[in-house]
């Protein structure tokens, strides 16, 4: 039904904070079934773009469509198809992991029996079952990321939007998350995620976009963007890095 629509289509997104232009007109088409990596230096506008894409932040201009449904005009349909893990946002962290999952599931209008069964499975797979009734606020940073991911996955969305899912998670959990996401895409889902870990992006993604100063600098399939170089080299070229000369911060060494 929605096969002809891209999983996510952003057109002309603009966001200004006071004088600062955080996102200056982003167009992006994420084909259904792709594994899309969003790269960019700190402050490039990744979080701002993804927030506008999922309806958390109202854009100054432009719009977003999820599988053909406008996020701002038809939010109910769009949000049903979406699973989101925002960055820098708290969870309802005075609930335990199981309580939080049950809460998200019921908020989505799911059947209680299904919620309980999926919650148990997710906690088990993500190695969070041992935490028992520990409140999420007392979880470690990586555990919080994992429970956030579980909340996004619970209702079986068609499109997953993840902001830095690999930040702070240990190698074993990272492998696990890669595996889960890989199977999800293989099963017909679409993933868009931002990351700073080039190696993960190169290993997972079918498509890549590089964002800098609020605008898309490179976009395409992984091979198109990468060409002959490594992704890291392309990234540094696009962003224009500065390398240490050895003169500065001399006082740090004794």
């Amino acid at each position: 039904m929605t096969a002809e629509h891209p999983a996510l289509a952003l057109h002309g997104l603009v966001k200004r904070f006071d004088a600062k232009v955080a996102v200056a007109g982003v167009d992006l088409t994420v084909p259904a079934g792709s594994f899309y990596g969003l790269l960019g230096p700190n402050g490039a506008g990744k979080t701002t773009t993804l927030s506008m894409a999922v309806g958390l932040l109202r854009p100054d201009a432009g719009g977003a469509r999820v599988l053909g449904h406008d996020v701002w005009a038809d939010p109910v349909r769009a949000k049903q198809l979406l699973g989101v893990m925002p960055d820098g946002v708290r969870l309802f962290d005075r609930l335990s992991g199981a309580e939080l999952l049950a809460y998200h599931g019921l908020l989505r209008g799911m059947d209680p029996a299904v919620v309980s069964q999926r919650a148990a499975e997710l906690l088990d797979v993500l190695a969070l079952a041992d935490a028992g009734r520990t409140l999420v606020v007392d979880y470690s940073a990586g555990m919080k990321k994992k429970i956030g991911l579980a909340c996004a996955l619970l209702h079986g969305p068609r499109l997953l939007v993840l902001d830095e899912p690999f930040e702070a998670v240990d190698p074993v959990s990272a492998a696990l998350i890669r595996d889960i996401l890989g199977r999800y895409v293989a099963g017909g889902g679409t993933v868009v995620f931002s990351s700073h870990v080039m190696e993960v992006v190169e290993r997972l993604c079918s498509h890549v976009a590089i964002l800098a100063d609020g605008a898309i600098k490179r976009v395409g399939t992984l091979d198109e963007v990468r060409g002959e170089q490594t992704l890291e080299q392309v990234f540094v070229t696009v962003v224009g890095g500065r390398t240490a000369t050895g003169e500065e911060l001399a006082w740090l060494s004794r």
Partner: protein, 562 residues
């Protein structure tokens, strides 16, 4: 390069001394940055400053009355009681109503190599830089004027020192008390809870009884003057009365009273310093049990508290269950509930007890249906005002609701329901206590409960709308009383607005109580309950519509800027 290294090391070793001045500058800078690009904040601040100045001018005039009238007979009386009220206000109002400005959050200093003493004096100095402090200083200048008129320059100068000491006392008291309460509220033991309740109750009873006792003998000004003289020797009145003491020739009293004040300030700072430690080390959560028993039951059964097992297992039920858990698990919300319980129980009791004692004829002589209704209106309005910034409690966690797209009306109805789960039992207790124990009139339960329900419902409607339109962010600190700079003003204005609106909404109940007489005693409960329920549902419906349209904007306003 070697030179640079040694220099840097020397810098780390000796460092430049950090003084209170740095803290004050830091606070001013943070306040200034908070204003940047936020016109409405500047406007609010100006409005707050204006209100503060207005009250200050009023207070100045009051304190100066004896001097202007040229009659020093009641100068001590006014200074002791007026000043005492100011101190009391600084101690109690932050807990009940205003919160404390925590522009400089103590926890942010935890990693800096600062001696405790430097930190406390620095934070104290920073706390002095605020509109209320300036207002008090200004108002109390009236005392200097009075002292100057009766005692010349020497008395005026002494009183000026006294006013400064009094200001230090007020600020130190406010900080110490809120910080100590915050520590208590973070701990999970019920014993502490009882202590909090008792302390709050005691704090409220004492002044009201004092005032009531004074009102009893209102014809007898000289007796009152005696009481004032005694109050003048307590920390409450000491700093404010030294000028008049000097003017009246008791010069020796000045150093003694200053000493009393100074000792109290030091003691308060020491107390504050102790609770600061726990505030700095503990994050919001650290007090919660981290070793909880293993989970039992499915995820969904775990979400619903055992007492709320009957809730529907859907969107509405989940929201209510989560809110109900949050009212207890979140220190900030718990603090609100507890102060509400204390104030809600004691203010009506005191109001209706007032003046009942000496006529011997019981409460009926002084209490009327109108007075009872009014005191219930007060409780209802106060209770509902707790929700005026209900979304601010959630902070950025509210993003989850935006992502899911929870319908506004469902969300608001659920929030009302969850709060009512705590409030309705409280309403019953308050009405029962008032009708049975205080008034001795079981037949009045209907009246008290009906008025309370009507006000509460109308208040919920008003505050729900306000919570959607006038939300503001709360700082993520361990102190449930903490506010961002400027938020205090916003909070006061919104609270006053909501209280006015809710009070207006229940005028029919008061009018009915006045007009209908005995019939109303029976009709009040059903009509009040229906009125309250109807108002609340209507409010949720209207505000829900607004919420549906501005979910992302609401999220942006309640996300704390860090």
């Amino acid at each position: 390069m070697a030179v640079a290294v040694t220099e840097a090391v020397a810098d780390v070793g000796a460092g430049r001394r950090v003084s209170a001045r740095h803290f004050v500058r830091l606070k001013l800078r943070v306040m200034g940055n908070n204003f940047r690009g936020q016109g409405w904040r500047i406007g609010l601040f100006a409005l707050g400053a204006f209100a503060g100045l207005w009250f200050a001018a009023f207070g100045l005039f009051l304190f100066a009355v004896p001097g202007l009238a040229g009659n020093d007979q009641y100068a001590t009386l006014l200074a002791a009681f007026g000043g005492g009220l100011v101190v009391l206000g600084w101690l109690l109002l932050p807990l009940i109503f205003f919160g404390v400005d925590e522009t400089l959050d103590p926890a942010r200093f935890a990693l800096l190599p600062l001696p405790r003493r430097t930190l406390v004096t620095g934070l104290f100095a920073a706390a002095l830089v605020s509109v209320p402090a300036v207002a008090v200083l200004l108002a109390a200048s009236g005392l200097i004027l009075t002292a100057g008129i009766f005692g010349g320059w020497s008395a005026a100068l002494t009183q000026a020192v006294g006013v400064l000491a009094g200001l230090l006392l007020c600020v130190a008291g406010a900080r110490a008390v809120t910080s100590a309460f915050a520590t208590m509220l973070r701990s999970r033991r019920v014993r502490d809870l009882a202590a909090v309740l008792l302390a709050g109750a005691a704090a409220l009873i004492a002044p009201v009884q004092l005032a009531a006792a004074a009102a009893l003998q209102d014809a007898d000004w000289d007796r009152l003057a005696e009481v004032a003289a005694v109050v003048g020797w307590t920390p409450f009145g000491a700093p404010w009365t030294i000028g008049i003491e000097v003017a009246q020739g008791r010069v020796w009293a000045a150093p003694v009273k200053l000493l009393i004040t100074a000792v109290t300030v030091v003691a308060l700072l020491a107390w504050w310093s102790r609770s600061l430690e726990s505030a700095m080390v503990g994050t919001t959560s650290s007090s919660r049990a981290s070793t909880r028993p293993r989970a039992t039951g499915t995820a969904v059964t775990q979400l619903f508290p055992r007492l709320l097992g009957w809730l529907p297992r859907g969107r509405f039920g989940a929201l209510v269950a989560r809110e109900a858990r949050y009212w207890w698990r979140d220190a900030r919300r718990r603090a609100n509930l507890i102060t509400l319980a204390v104030v809600g129980l004691f203010v009506p009791v005191m109001l209706n007890l007032g003046g009942a004692g000496d006529t011997g004829g019981g409460a009926l002589d002084t209490s009327s249906p109108v007075l009872v209704t009014l005191s219930m209106v007060f409780v209802g309005v106060l209770a509902a005002a707790t929700l005026a910034n209900q979304f601010g409690f959630d902070g950025s966690a509210y993003a989850a609701h935006v992502v899911v797209g929870v319908p506004g009306a469902v969300e608001l109805r659920a929030r009302m329901a969850a709060f009512s789960l705590y409030l309705l039992p409280l309403v019953l207790i308050i009405s029962g206590v008032l009708a049975l124990l205080v008034l001795g009139q079981p037949g009045w339960i209907g009246l008290t409960a009906g008025s309370l329900l009507a006000t509460f419902g109308a208040g919920l409607a008003v505050n729900t709308l306000l919570s959607v339109l006038g939300a503001y962010s709360l700082p993520e600190t361990s102190n449930p009383f903490a506010l961002n700079s400027g938020a205090g003003v916003a909070r006061s204005f919104l609270a006053v607005l909501s209280m006015l609106a809710s009070a207006v909404a229940v005028i029919p109940m008061v009018v009915a109580a006045a007009l209908l007489g005995d019939v109303w005693l029976w009709l009040a409960l059903p009509i009040g309950a229906a009125y309250g329920l109807g108002a609340a549902l209507l409010g949720a419906y209207l505000a829900g519509d607004v919420l549906d349209r501005r979910q992302p904007e609401l999220l942006a306003t309640i996300t704390p800027r860090r």
